[in-house]
Symmetry: C2
Subunit: 218 residues, 2 copies
Amino acid sequence: MSVITIERKVLEKNDQIAERNRRFFKERSIFVLNFVSSPGAGKTSILEKTFQELQGSMNIAVIEGDVQTDLDAQRVARYGVPVVQIVTLGGCHLEANLIQDALKNLDLNGVDALFIENVGNLVCPSNYDLGEAFKVVVLSTTEGDDKPLKYPAMFRNSSILIINKIDLVPYVRCNLSVLRNNALQINPALKVFEISCFTGAGIAEWCDWLRKKDVSGL
Amino acid sequence: MSVITIERKVLEKNDQIAERNRRFFKERSIFVLNFVSSPGAGKTSILEKTFQELQGSMNIAVIEGDVQTDLDAQRVARYGVPVVQIVTLGGCHLEANLIQDALKNLDLNGVDALFIENVGNLVCPSNYDLGEAFKVVVLSTTEGDDKPLKYPAMFRNSSILIINKIDLVPYVRCNLSVLRNNALQINPALKVFEISCFTGAGIAEWCDWLRKKDVSGL
């Protein structure tokens, strides 16, 4: 029995549970996004900005995934958002069964959208369906414009790309149009947002899209 | 047979090959460093700066590990350094047997040091010994000062921490002393360098250490 077979079995099992999660969300009309990125690309900061912008117009719950600590859940909880922290204790990605467990501890009454913040890892989470509507890949300008070519699976399996920290472009070696083109070369259907959590640029446009849930073309 | 058992067997097999690699390097007096970090933390830029600084005083060879593309090997090759690119085709970390294979294609004649640039991933490469003398974890200030607490295994299993992009501290939410303290809380024996590949700050100190290979206390 080869490791590849095991891996395939793990993925098949995961996909079955993910489909169950997806039905669960559909029955409750909850819009679920799975945020994936490298460590420090700004997933939690984007969540914070989004809560501020959507306060009163959209009820959001959060599942936080981290290798260790509940630092992110603490940050999110400050906004009065229902949140469950999953600590993977070394695990490099979230799996559908962990989401299933987390849902038992999350009050989804009146919730419109669920944001899942995956473990900071631009490789492994790409293969694991959690039952989300879409994967949102976040890339910081500080990571460089070549990253979509170097980590193509994540960009191929995501529907939305948020380019974060555009305020830092003058200080780093990152050409925004090269970055955008590299991403669209891997996945021409990507919906791209360019934002800065520091200056607030682009946040309104992103939140406007969230309010409308305009999923045409995705 | 559980997945955990398979994983343990994979690690045991890996460790055996890593020991073989280590003996190979020792017999040839080659100092081997395994560079690990998130995507875009600046591993390749550090290599480039190091080649420039050490030209004429130290002969370095490189093994590049990437999920996809040979962009990094192309960058490194410009410095006339012997380099082999490993493309993992989705694999999230390098393993000792891949290094063993790469060595067959690398001319190590007269080489003093071998730098292995691992796949950009702050989680998975932490468990895999490649036969290196030390793991060097690179963290960019743009990733935030909480990362050692959130990804402890990598900081625990590394001997050297290079904090990169210190020129960006004024523009990002990162307190250098908090970052340093968080890292030393996880691993008090870490040797810490603070550098900027952009301004060149700290590069001389890092290269001075490399020349002396002062491994006391590591």
